[in-house]
């Protein structure tokens, strides 16, 4: 059952189109990744979902409400890319203020705040936020997104600019939240993190969604698994795969044939052996999300099929 439905979302700034007709659904309890190069429209999309930016066209429904409605804001936890905290306040004062604003009873808020900070392993809670390290500030920002115990969390670059240790901590914490049944919309430049925690992904480029689905589905749609066949002779002569000639290169005195079909590997082997040569090695290459991302980001943008 979709907890978040987006249909034809579009945002224009004058003549510039930041987001063009985005549509997707997110299931309850899902971790949904939004990736893309800088300026792809990720943050604009997330802010439209959070009710911060009004779409020029299209609709979004979050937990049954339109973004911006107070009822929807109560069910949402938003963590922006930067941590816009009030540095002159202590972490506890800051979090209690936001809990108060979300009408969380004081005793419940206190317990929830300390629980979040315990799980995030944040010490020095009575220290002024301005005197905290960047990692600690980020943890305070995450705790703030949780003060209202939201159903839906929108995390925009939650680990941006943090050291690897803190980053891992935050990624693990996000996984824990997912295990608790929270729906999480997650955006990150580090595709390894997206790959490791997201159930489904959309890749955006120039304001459009150019790929979507599970990682496997995206891999299949963008080349899938490749087989690199190394041989002493060129075995591609006279062979085609799906009507195209086989991609051949020379490496260390050997001929490397790149194909995406196991049947083509057999055909190459036969051709090579017929020419008096032999196949020396066959390697299987699975593209990472980063490979797909780089491929997609470098291509001219076309509407997804």
């Amino acid at each position: 059952m979709a907890i978040l439905e987006v249909d034809g979302l579009r945002k224009e700034y004058g003549d510039f189109v930041a987001v063009e007709g985005s549509s997707f659904d997110i299931e309850r309890g899902e971790v949904f990744g939004v990736v893309g190069p800088n300026g792809a429209g990720k943050t604009t999309t997330l802010k439209m979902l959070a009710g911060l930016i009004e779409p020029t066209a299209g609709t979004a429904v979050v937990a049954g409400h339109t973004p911006g409605e107070p009822a929807m804001q109560r069910r949402l936890g938003f963590l922006p890319e930067e941590s816009p905290l009030y540095e002159e306040m202590t972490a506890i004062d800051y979090l209690e203020f936001f809990a108060d604003l979300y009408d969380v009873p004081r005793d419940v808020a206190r317990e929830r705040i300390h629980d979040s900070l315990d799980r995030l392993d944040l010490e020095h809670r009575d220290r002024k936020i301005g005197n905290m390290s960047k990692g600690m500030q980020r943890k305070v920002a995450i705790a703030r997104a949780l003060v209202n115990d939201p159903n839906v969390l929108i995390f925009d670059e939650p680990a941006s600019g943090l050291d690897p240790l803190t980053t891992n901590y935050i990624i693990e914490f996000t996984e824990e939240l997912s295990d608790e049944g929270k729906t999480i919309v997650f955006s990150a430049h580090n595709l390894f993190h997206v790959e490791s925690i997201c159930d489904r992904i959309v890749i955006m480029n120039d304001g459009r969604i150019v790929a979507r689905g599970t990682l496997e589905e995206i891999r299949d749609a963008h080349g899938g698994t490749e087989y690199h066949v190394y041989a002493t002779e060129d075995g591609s002569e006279g062979l085609t795969v799906a009507g195209s000639p086989i991609d051949v290169s020379h490496e260390n005195g050997q001929v490397c044939h790149v194909v995406g079909d196991m049947r083509a590997v057999d055909a190459i082997r036969e051709t090579v052996e017929a020419a008096g040569g032999r196949v020396t090695d066959i390697q299987t290459k699975t593209p990472s999300l980063e490979d797909i991302f780089l491929e997609v980001a470098s291509e001219p943008v076309e509407a997804e099929t």
């Binding site: 911060l52 009004e54 107070p70 922006p80 930067e82 002159e88 203020f97 108060d100 604003l101 002024k128």
Partner: protein
Amino acid sequence: MSAGRLRGIVSRTARIARWEVARSAGTVDRKTALILVVMVAAIGTAGFSVADEGLGLEREIYTVGVDEDSRYYDVAVDSEQFRPISIEDVTTDGDGTAGTIAVRDEASVDVVVTRDGRIGHLGDNGAAAYDAFRESVESYNGKLMDEEADQAAAYPVLVSIEYQQRDLGGATDSGAGDGAGDGDGDGDGDGDGTDSGDGTNGGSGDGTGGNTDGSTGDESGADESGTDGTGGSGTDDGDGRTQVPNVGDGSTSTTAPDRPGSISPPFPFESLVLAFLFVVPMNFVIQAYGSTIMDERVKRRGELLLVSPASSREIVAGKTLPYLLGLVGVVVAISWVIEGGPIAVAAALPIALLFLGATFVGAMLARSFKELTFVTVTISVFLTTYTFIPAVFADVNAIALISPLTLVVMDLQGEAVRLGEYLFSTGPFYLGGAVCFLLGIGVYREEDMFAQKPIPAKIVDAIANRIRGRRSVFVLPILFIPFVFASQLLAVALLFVVPQAIAVPLIIVLAATVEEIAKSVHVYAGFARSRFEPSLRTAAMLGAFSGAGFFVGEKLTHVVQFVGLPDLPVGTAAFGPAVSDEPLILAVVFLAPLALHVVTAVISALGASRSRLGYVGGLIAAILGHAAYNLGVITLVA
């Protein structure tokens, strides 16, 4: 709105307000707190001093050697400038008379009064001290005269002075002068010496009764419409013109006889200084308020409040409330200290509101703290000038009423303030402040708060965000009326001392410019931000809506009729002539401006629908047409 929803709004607003106080308190370090305490103490001391007995800067600055038996001893004691010491302390020999006296070398004395009544001075300050002593003697003698039971004996010749409004056309009535010169001795000679003959008469001033017979005649009242002090009370002066209303009842003009040397034009210095005390803290508070609004923007800190259940309005109200309440507290405290009444507080409140409103919208438009500094200084200078300068004329001219500080001055002088006067003075401030907040809240959203756009583009955004169809095109010019009104009043205030031949054409063009901008800027914003289809038909329709809306709003400015400002030549130039009683003329006066506003607004709208340059062209054409209309009307009426 349901009670529950209202409770929610109030509750969230109060939480943000409480938090703003707690957060701001965290930003104030000890040094800043100390500076604030010193500042408050300084303002308080100044207020107390002025309220109590003036600044006291000249207290006992001179020393006078005088015997206690001398008749000048009481003069020295009475004057705060002099510290009397015994003549024996400063002389070495002789009997203290002029011929025998010798002052000791080490004696620190500025003036010496000998036992035979001669007065001399010595030292660097001697000459100035001598002059001051002479003035003290005159002042002391004046007091003795005032205490004299037989006033006719004390003041055998009474000259009543009446200050008249200045006629900028050059044909200045000379009531006071004539009165003095023509004193025909009609023998009224009322006991309190306040009789001013025919009082409100602007020119003849023939009623300055002389009285040398010592009688305390009682015929001063019945047949005399005169009022003491500054001008009449709005009664007819005989030639059909309504006189400028009495701004205050002229209580600064003494009703007791005095020496000619002590007579000066009415200038409520003390009340003015005290009234100014209300504005001083506002200038400081807006710095803190502007910073807190800017703080939300420069570090995107406001983003998290925007994503909370609190609306923009609640956030702004919550952040503003502590500063507004703080200013109200300061205003009440100042009022209590200087013994002002509720009117002083009620008059200062809209000033505080406009200070905060203007600062809010300024802080929403500024792109950096540097720009914010410029904005707040501009607001400080402009609003302080706007409120203070007109108040200087509190006892002289109706124009003073454009500033609520004039009401404070009146209140401090114990004068009654009429409802019309209060509305006239404070209306533009209340409405101006409200519109500033309305425009600022329009851009209190993610897309505008954190964007680095040029200020004019943000102004256009702020206005465009308030456009919701044709109805808003009708309503917005009504909301702009306070600014139009205030701009025109300011123009009148600044130019009323300039010769009429220059002031009137200038005001005609300025008034037309301000009005045409108010009628067209939102239409331009709508076209510029694609709120409307840029067709000629749409432009014509929007122009008509806007012109009609402005016409409705303009009618509200007829509150000036309550106080008679249009009877000033420059007031007529800005606001048009006073409405006639003739039905036909009334209909023309009513409908002609409607036609004017619609036509000129359509011209601007047609230009605005094309491009920015087109808008400028259309606006200029509209201004010229409007100015020509104004000129024609004034020529016809005059």
